[in-house]
Point group: C2
């Protein structure tokens, strides 16, 4: 069943839902709360003392949900990264924005803050008209795939965890992409250009360039740009800014 | 620095803090909220409509924190299982009960709902008088250790994740235990007897028997008992009860 476009908060247009803009450890940092300094950390104190909704200091793992409105008015939901705090992000923002499921997932890299929520994929698995669970495509590099295979063998083999016969099994279509600006791919109808960037020396993380009317460059975990990534027309730049 | 016993909600006695009593997917089940049935699931609707504190239908991954008061009045905090929802459990219950850190961790088995929070261990790492981070012992079977080694190589090698040079590195002392009732071990001064039980046929999960004044048997994920586990004196039995 397609989501009803009139149900979408954006009606007939596309939008970006920032599910998280926090660092890998997320905010508040529990250490500031368990062993408070004198005076206590103002950021984390506020992070815990007000409800998470609208609290600028309750920030979960970096993740973007693209609500992509096709020309026929149907909406597709494309998720970039599914980190450690994904369950909270679904309860908070999917319910609020009436997002029924995720149509495809794109991974920037294989760190815990980008992939550890994969165990929850079955919760947001798309369903067809007959309410059958449909495969969800997950786009990732071979390097990320190798890491996922070690971490989540049961997701790659599409069987329950050993000894957990009653568990829900995610149905995933793993799609290998290349870290190459010249090799765009299409996720749920949206063309995405991989933007390889350095994330610590010797480690490549992907950003993505997408959007027809406005070109959006999403770069969530960058320590240094690569020459090829810097050029090209971008109207909206989403960029991490970890202050050191 | 030892925690001040007078700061503990239990003062000079030991106590059990149930950090979570939910199933592997935790409650509310996001599926009930994203695609509500008619009428909507009452359990999950309540799970999301009231604050998590004191909400009987907001239940995180099964986990127990033993606040163990030694004879000299010092408290040691022993955690059984560190699942997917550990960060939320720290923010909610550690802060509430003024638990400053965890002294040791015991794992029942290697499923995601028991171990996926290991990436957060550095947040609750104990510190000595000089505020230096101390190693945290983690007790687990060799089978669980093998699984953790594949999932969290950076925790076993005690280095940052590849490419993440700035990350905090957990300092862990991995301690192999046997799934044998005749091989008790001591975690932060507390003697624990492993109680092997079946969790799905062919898969062994550990429960634990501990406590001097009251003998507590903690069995969080059991499908079938083994003969050796059934016998013995227990005053308090904590047992999962998943209704099918
Ligand atoms: Zn802080
Ligand atoms: Zn990273
Ligand atoms: Zn429900
Ligand atoms: Zn299990």
């Amino acid at each position: 069943m397609e989501p009803d476009p009139s149900q979408s908060p954006t009606g007939g247009s596309s939008s970006l839902i920032f599910l998280g803009t926090g660092c890998s450890g997320a905010l508040p940092d529990a250490r500031c709360l368990l062993k408070p300094s004198t005076p206590p950390c103002a950021v984390c104190s506020m992070g815990i003392s007000q409800p998470p909704e609208g609290n600028p200091n309750y920030r979960l793992n970096t993740s973007l949900l693209i609500d992509y409105c096709h020309d026929d008015g149907t909406h597709k939901y494309i998720l970039i990264d599914i980190g450690k705090t994904f369950r909270e992000q679904v309860l908070r923002w999917f319910v609020h924005h009436k997002v029924p499921y995720v149509d495809s997932i794109i991974l920037t890299h294989e760190h815990a803050d980008a992939v550890l929520g994969l165990d929850e994929v079955w919760v947001v698995q798309p369903r067809n008209d007959r309410n059958d669970v449909e495969q969800i495509p997950i786009f990732l590099t071979q390097f990320t795939m190798d890491s996922i295979t070690r971490r989540f063998p049961y997701l790659v083999e599409q069987k329950p965890e050993d000894g957990d016969e009653d568990a829900q099994v995610a149905k995933i279509d793993w799609k290998i992409i290349e870290d190459d600006v010249d090799k765009p791919f299409v996720a749920s109808g949206l063309q995405c250009v991989p933007l390889p960037v350095m994330h610590g020396e010797g480690y490549i993380c992907l950003g993505f360039l997408f959007g027809r009317r406005a070109r959006v460059a999403y770069l969530s975990d960058v320590s240094r740009f690569l020459p090829k990534t810097e050029h090209g027309k971008k109207e909206i730049l989403v960029h991490n800014s970890l202050f050191r």
